[in-house]
Amino acid sequence: MQSNSLSTIANSQQMQNPILQAILLLAFTGLFGWFILAPKFTANDVTRTELAELKTQRQNLEADQVELNRLIAQMQTAQDDIRLVDEAVPLSSRPTKIAVLIEAYARNSALTLKQLNIDGLDEHISAGNKDLADNQFGGNRALATINVTANVSGNIEQFRNFLQLLEQSGRIIDVDSMIVSSDEEAIQFNIRLKTYAYELNTSL
């Protein structure tokens, strides 16, 4: 009954009119464009933008990878320079190394080392750090300052040699302050030094 009526409508004189057919087709095309084509176009635009961003990100990552490989190769060929940097600012602030160094400089300049204090030792692990056993370069690092106070006695020339040894030291040692005082027996030199290590950042 219904198909009969539809067939009747389709076969009716009005529906056979090409103008009506064209108008209906255009109306349908308009609706199709508005409700299906335009949202698809917008979605496609969003997808393309996302794809372009991802492509840029991928290119940047690939460029980073190339740069990283170049720097790693450069690092591997610069082992002598790395040794120098490692000596200047070591990766460990182990105080015994500093004490051995200062003691050697005092001895080499014929000064008597009367006292040596190293401050701020509890902040960093000096030996047996299990976190670094797996990857010695893992973790965040920052420059750590180690304060050293030394009391030496001798003459001015010996002390000058001591200062020169500190200046020429492979490890960076800065003189923060010094007090020279003389008594009956010898001249006392109280010197405050700063040395550094590129240590694991404990504040993080």
Binding site: L25, R48, L54, Q57, A88, E167, S181, R192
Partner: protein, 189 residues
């Protein structure tokens, strides 16, 4: 005869109208087909873009994971930080071994120093001992000469006293001086 002509004209006009209607339908159909074509293009383009997005995401994740797990990268970052710190420290490094000879040159070893206190701030405190007040005056006069006050200047006498030690009179002065920071700076080789 005239009626026959009118009928012919009417027939032609109807034929043109009919043809125009059909062309209009054809154009409408063409627009519809083009719209369908555009939709098809967008559909396949979107699918292709989605596929590329998935591929790119996988590559990016893999590359990020490779970068993060690269142990040599950790070493590189550490070495870079180490080198940067070392360069900064070397740029600020002071050379103290030149201080004492310069102080001796300026004061021409005319005095005995019983104490010298100095730091990186630029202030310097010295306690000197000379035999008489006249020697103390001469000691201070040296700092008025341009040749000698380049490294040590603005000398303030904080204390001046005379005491007898082992039957000898000694004049002591506690001085505050400004130390030229350039004296301690030297070009790193």
């Amino acid at each position: 005869m005239a009626e026959i002509n009118l009928l012919e004209t009417q027939g032609r006009l109807n034929a043109v109208k009919e043809q125009g209607k059909r062309w209009l339908l054809r154009i409408a159909t063409l627009i519809f087909v083009v719209a369908l074509g555009v939709y098809g293009y967008l559909f396949f383009s979107d699918r292709s873009s989605q596929k590329q997005i998935r591929e790119n995401r996988a590559v990016i994740l893999q590359a990020q994971s490779d970068l993060e797990n690269n142990r040599q990268r950790s070493e590189l970052i550490t070495r870079q930080g180490q080198l940067k710190s070392a360069n900064k420290l070397l740029g600020e490094h002071l050379f103290w071994s030149g201080l004492l000879p310069e102080l001796a040159r300026v004061t021409l070893t005319s005095a005995q120093y019983s104490s010298i206190e100095t730091g990186t701030e630029g202030d310097m405190f010295v306690t000197v001992t000379v035999p008489t007040y006249t020697d103390a005056e001469k000691f201070l006069q040296v700092f008025d000469l341009p040749e000698y006050n380049q490294q040590f200047s603005n000398v303030r006498v904080l204390a001046l006293s005379q005491t007898q030690k082992d039957n000898v009179l000694q004049t002591s002065m506690r001085l505050q001086l400004i130390l030229n920071p350039n004296l301690l700076r030297r070009q790193i080789q």
